[in-house]
Symmetry: C2
Subunit: 397 residues, 2 copies
């Protein structure tokens, strides 16, 4: 019998995917499903960015440079400069989405058997990239009571072994929406310098901070050789389908090695680099409108959640996600029940069970992630559904 | 000291990359460099395909389905049907270039320590994907005297060990241009069935066959569970920068596992799926013009090469590459010398040293790969250069 790889079997499935058939069945019954389960913004991609692609006039769709078009990397330098991140075009490798930047980081810095520490709950696909790289994820629990702030330094010290090579920080965080403070970022800096670790910084949601300012890992003076920025334009400009991200570091050895991975896959996608290039020239107030909209949604969502009996939702400082604790015993079953057995005014909601974001078995069973990628009216309707659902749910705890 | 991964150090550099600074220096001296070193076609991307992107009118550039847009996969079914390959839309995963299809195949079917057999010379980037997957490439030598035909079955039998899990066949071949016959494909079928191996079929150049017909690995009745097709639109429609390929198999287990890798990276690029969709509707005679052009170039190139004293070039049956044996002792040094120390009528040529395509140390030192991606006039000028260069080359053997 011909067999697939063990690695393939270990590879995790998308935590939301198993719910998709139930959502489809609900829709077939004529029920409107409010999708709070995914990070696909409903914000329009800036027209000027889409136009940059529409107005392209080349005759051959050639490979771009393996590191991305030079013209785009030069633009990115100015973008980062505006964010007080000082890099040259040669310290940037344009990647196929943030996903590829994460994969390059894992592949270039970690060997099979190495360990990477990640505060949990965390972005579920880190598990997938870890499996591809043969790396073990060591979770450290952050807790909903503390709003998912950085676990204490002692927890890191306890988790560090001779096999530990890196820490991943997603800031602002997906799935918690937590925005790390300057103090917390400095704690991470101390740890990575003391233990000679890499700091992988996923800053996909940099622009979406609602209180306090964003402290990039690239701002940590003295940690330049440790920090790898894994970036993407997906959320920033609502351009998820473009598949354009960036791998940014000042560590020359890492950069040279990442370039070998970049060369092996020849080039990042051409079209969305045009889009990304145009995006850097958007007016400075571009993010104001988007941020104001997300802020309104966050405030609506969090207020509504905390008004429901037995529900607790810490106020997230960034991104467009919130984690809520519900009076339920099994978030997977609850999310399925919402789609399979519940409706309110012919509507229901699709949520992401938090179990998929925890690495430690058993955690997240009473939590769900909500992406506020719907407008305020839809959020109100979705919260009406949730409120009613929790009254009706037979397994309420 | 913070250290990169061993895997990263093992990762091969692009075999051509080290020549780039010499090409740039030659250009700065005002010398025209004929690029026969890369597989970037000069054929225009069909305007109707580029228009499909230019005329796109969505307002949000959303993720596509992780397996690719359903509308595109349905179109691909008809494309494959025309090539006598019978698959459903659910047996296709749209990938980020052929590169990602190869990586998915290695990751889904092979574990670290497993072996994959590849007739050499072979596409250099297979090495890079093997390093990423922790897999060992076992080369079997095909020889220029036989025009790089499939090595005898005994050579495969000798190379197969308990760790062998797959064979890679690139047909028509890059770098040799060799087109495998029905008999050879059947030999591969027998081997993979007898030894329960996967057959990874890279058919990027399917349309470019100049004598005989293309036998796809997907045509091998009885090997359905073994065959994984790794495909791309890059060369077919001169759309290399789009980064759209396909992973196609009838093996359900492999498909399910590859989908987990596809989900981890969320989605393939959106734009070039529109291009690929339009390409399927190109008139049936679209490839006739392109093929006629490549055929003329091949005939010109091969004839000119074989007219040069001491040069031997077998006539390649497909793709747009030719491998030639030259009267030289070190193809890396020769290719560098061409750029650094030679010019003829203020022109020179950039070739790919064949050493980069062999896995066995020492092979390919008297061979180069030539990509006939230039028009006939440029090919004549390039061959004038080569002829003169071989007269002048001080290390001629």
């Amino acid at each position: 019998m011909i067999k697939t790889s063990q690695r393939g079997l270990l590879m995790p499935s998308s935590p939301i995917r198993k719910l998709v058939p139930f959502a489809e069945a609900a829709k077939r019954k004529g029920i409107h499903v409010h999708h709070l389960n995914i990070g696909q913004p409903d914000i329009e991609t800036p027209a000027v960015c889409l136009d940059a692609v529409r107005n392209s006039h080349f005759k051959i769709l050639e490979y771009s440079h393996s590191a991305g078009n030079e013209s785009y990397r030069k633009k990115l330098v100015t973008y980062y400069e505006r964010n007080n991140i000082h890099v040259t075009k040669d310290e940037i490798i344009v990647t196929t989405g943030g996903s590829e930047a994460i994969l390059f980081g894992f592949m270039a810095c970690l060997d099979p058997g190495d360990e990477v520490i990640i505060p949990e709950p965390f972005y579920a696909n880190y598990n997938g990239f870890a499996v591809q790289a043969g790396v073990t994820v060591i979770p450290i629990k952050s807790s909903i009571e503390d709003g998912f702030s950085l676990p204490p330094i002692e927890e890191f010290e306890k988790a560090i072994s001779p096999k530990t090579k890196a820490i991943v920080v997603c800031n602002p965080n997906n799935p918690t929406g937590y925005l790390y403070s300057a103090e917390e970022m400095n704690i991470l800096k101390e740890i990575v310098i003391k233990h000679q670790l890499f700091l992988f910084a996923d800053e996909a949601y940099r622009e979406f901070c609602y209180q306090g300012t964003h402290v990039s890992a690239m701002h940590l003076n003295g940690a330049e050789n440790h920090v790898i920025l894994m970036d993407t334009i997906s959320k920033r400009y609502s351009a998820c389908g473009g598949r354009i991200g960036a791998f940014v570091t000042k560590n020359k050895d890492v950069l040279n090695i990442a370039m070998k991975f970049a060369q092996a896959r020849l080039s990042p996608p051409y079209y969305a680099q045009l889009l990304g290039e145009a995006a850097v020239d958007l007016p400075e107030n571009y993010f104001d409108t988007t941020k104001a909209e997300y802020l309104l949604r966050r405030n609506t969502l969090v207020a509504r959640l905390n008004e429901i009996e037995g529900v607790f939702c810490p106020n997230p400082g960034g991104a467009f996600y919130a984690m809520a604790r519900l009076p339920i015993d099994d978030s997977d079953l609850f999310c399925q029940w919402l789609l399979e057995s519940f409706s309110h005014n012919n509507q229901t909601i699709m949520l992401a069970p938090a179990t998929g974001f925890y690495s430690t078995e058993g955690l997240g069973k009473d939590e769900v992630r909500l992406a506020y990628v719907l407008n305020v009216e839809a959020i109100h309707q979705a919260m009406d559904c949730l409120e009613e659902a929790l009254k009706q749910y037979p397994r309420r705890s």
